[in-house]
Amino acid sequence: MAGITSFGAYVPIYRLNREEIGKMWGGRNMGGAKAVAGYDEDTITMAVAAALDCVIRGGGADGLFLATTTAPYREKLSAAIVASGADLQEECRVADFTDSLRAGTAALKAALDAVVAGSAKKVMVVAADTRQGAVKGALEQTLGDGAVALNVGSEKVIAEVEGSYSIFNDFTDIWRTDEDKFPRSAEGRFIDEVGYFPTMQSAVNGLLKKYKLNLGDFASIVYYASDARQHAALARRLKLEKSQVQDPLYNDIGNTGSAAALLMLAAALEKASPGDRILFVGYGDGADAFVLRATDEIKKFKKRPVISSQLAGKMAISYGQYLTWRGLVPLEASTLPERSALSLQSRWRERKAIFALYGAKCKKCGAPQFSQIGQAARVCVNCQAKDEFEPYKFSDKKATLFSYAIDQLQPSLNPPGVNGVVDFEGGGRIICELTDCDIDKVRVGMPVEMTFRKMFFSRGVHNYFWKARPVSD
């Protein structure tokens, strides 16, 4: 039976404590914190991080569906960028599922159908969002950033999908027009009583009836809600046992939009034992409900606690940093020199280096090398052999910081800029930016790993590349 074969997650390390927001505006705060994508992160970079986490633990896929409501491009396939970053094989169907908070479960259902129909062996469903609430509003406090990835396949399944049930309901509760930066929201009581509660109850009841199950048959119940209050209220309506209800992570991360329900599902899978049934519901203009059941394979699955470990290394940011990073305030124009122009042609030639950090390894002398000028080395930096190379991937190699420079002049939304000379285990060196650093802890010899980030925006193009960051554990 088809089901989930692997999962991965990514939560940015930055937290905006809701108390900060309360202090800024003098209002009530909801407590806890929201995860905030770093100044150099967006939906794509978080999706790549989650996808790579999923690949490390469960291998690649021949399909990738990206679910998001915050794609960086209105017209250009984000899933293709994520598949490139995750270094999936070229023969791979990719698609964006978008414009709905239910995009995540819609992508999951589509992935299951593809696997069951045999049109794909394994499809990775990646969901990521970086929605922003308008300043001073409730959504500013509730919305957080995060990403999750699940491999759907029919071999080595860790959680089978035993069934699903979907309904639609055209209901205007939270929405954005194509010109809105922030979601709009209908009146809360109306949303709850006419939209959210009846829709969720109808989906859950329909699913239970279809598969002749009771709520008591589930070890874990995982479902989307706008915020912690709504989540708790539905638990009461459905009369769920406290032990059944998966923590929505809203206190630590916030509502991550199309990724929220799937991220909770990943957290539930972290804890699941063979035989456990999970009831899983995504919401948005209707609902998708699923019955999952953990298999014996889940015992063999490398359950490095994805989400709990990512909650550990967090760094608190100020409200000012948040406004700056998210482009919510106009900033003084820089008098520093601008970067040289981006060339689409050059980026295309160097695509393997840019998206998966491929360098080359000399077949004559064995030296791995990354040139940073041109995609492929032609003459070896070590032995000067010409065209004797094989591709060599650096993005997954452990590395050490050989030297560093903390730069007060570097144009950055999070100054000062931190840069390093990075030496890879097994050979090869790159000089690159560092990110997610506590600058007081940066030191020679520090272990680092590579992470896919947004470098800058130029001529309408989001320019991604790899940076090094301190190894979190």
Binding site: P337, S371, S403, Y404, L409, E433, V444
Partner: protein, 396 residues
Amino acid sequence: MESFKDKVAIVGMGCTKFGERWDKGVEDLIVEAAYEAFEDAGIGPKDIQAAWIGTVFSGISAITLSPLQLQYIPMTRVENMCATGSEAMRAASYAVAAGVVDVALAVGVEKLKDSGTTGLKGPSIVGDNQEGNSGIGPGYSAPASFAYLATRYFHDYNIKPEEGKRLLAQIAVKNHHNGSLNPKAHFQNELTIEQVVNAPIIAWPLGLYDCCGVSDGAAVAVITRADMAKKFRPDPIYIKALQITVGARQGAMRQDYDFVHIEENVIGSRQAYAAAGVKDPRTEISIAEVHDCFSIHEMIVYEDLGFSKRGRARDDIEAGTFTLKGSLPVNTDGGLKCFGHPLGASGLRMMYEVYKQLQGKAGPRQVKNPRLGLTHNLGGNAGTGVCSCNIVGNEK
């Protein structure tokens, strides 16, 4: 391969006042420096048979020289990053040595202050195409690219950051003292160690006074055959070696590069010494103008060029070896620290000081009985660079 030593000589030089020359354009700077050089050589523009101009940002092609109104002679623009000025002189000198022309002009100019930005514009990766590249280079400033050296130097030689900063500060203090004696310098103020170590940090451990200024300037040399030199003046300066040595990003790509030295400097200076017949630079070189874009680089250059033993530059700094009164004065005119670094001009500005010193015309900065002088530039940074190392003397 024939020896190039003593085949050509410098018979005239000019150098503008360096600084924020808001009221002067590239054309003014070129004319100002060139006419000083013509006068110094006792010639007029009509005597120039070929010319080279070095500039990185301030002009494309030799048409940049049009303000001089040289009439239909061969002219070329050259560019080799921070070694651009020295490159112009190398081209002019080689043309004379080849016997193709007898009198050639080398011009270096840069008008940095017209960019409207603070600091140098540069490619994100040294050597990458500036007109359009893949944008994968780190977006750091020039000071950061040299801070790597300081971080690693302090680490490898176990120097505490506060000690290291005081050590580097002595270099800035020395150069500012020299600059205070030079009316052509951009900065002519003395500094104290305390001022240097307490200045705002730019790229740790480099503070404001560890970094050279951003200035406008131009410098010009008139080059002729050595055997004709004395027809122009009694005290020509003979060229012993003009070395350019270029890396291939080895430092940025190979783990065996240590970031406490720059290989281009080491090899470039050894090649220049060999060409000039210098066996022991520490005793044979009378005066050196080196690339002090950042204080840490001047310190590393002491070791790279063989003035100090590896890892022991500190002893010489503390002994005052490189001050005006020391045994090997370095950056007697104030260096890049006080002249800023208008890229195309710097190499020729350095040569202007060495030329004047070797002629005994350096005024209050004059060192005693100099015989051999050296100029040195490093374009790029610790990852890869273009090193220029030139040796001249007042005797054949």
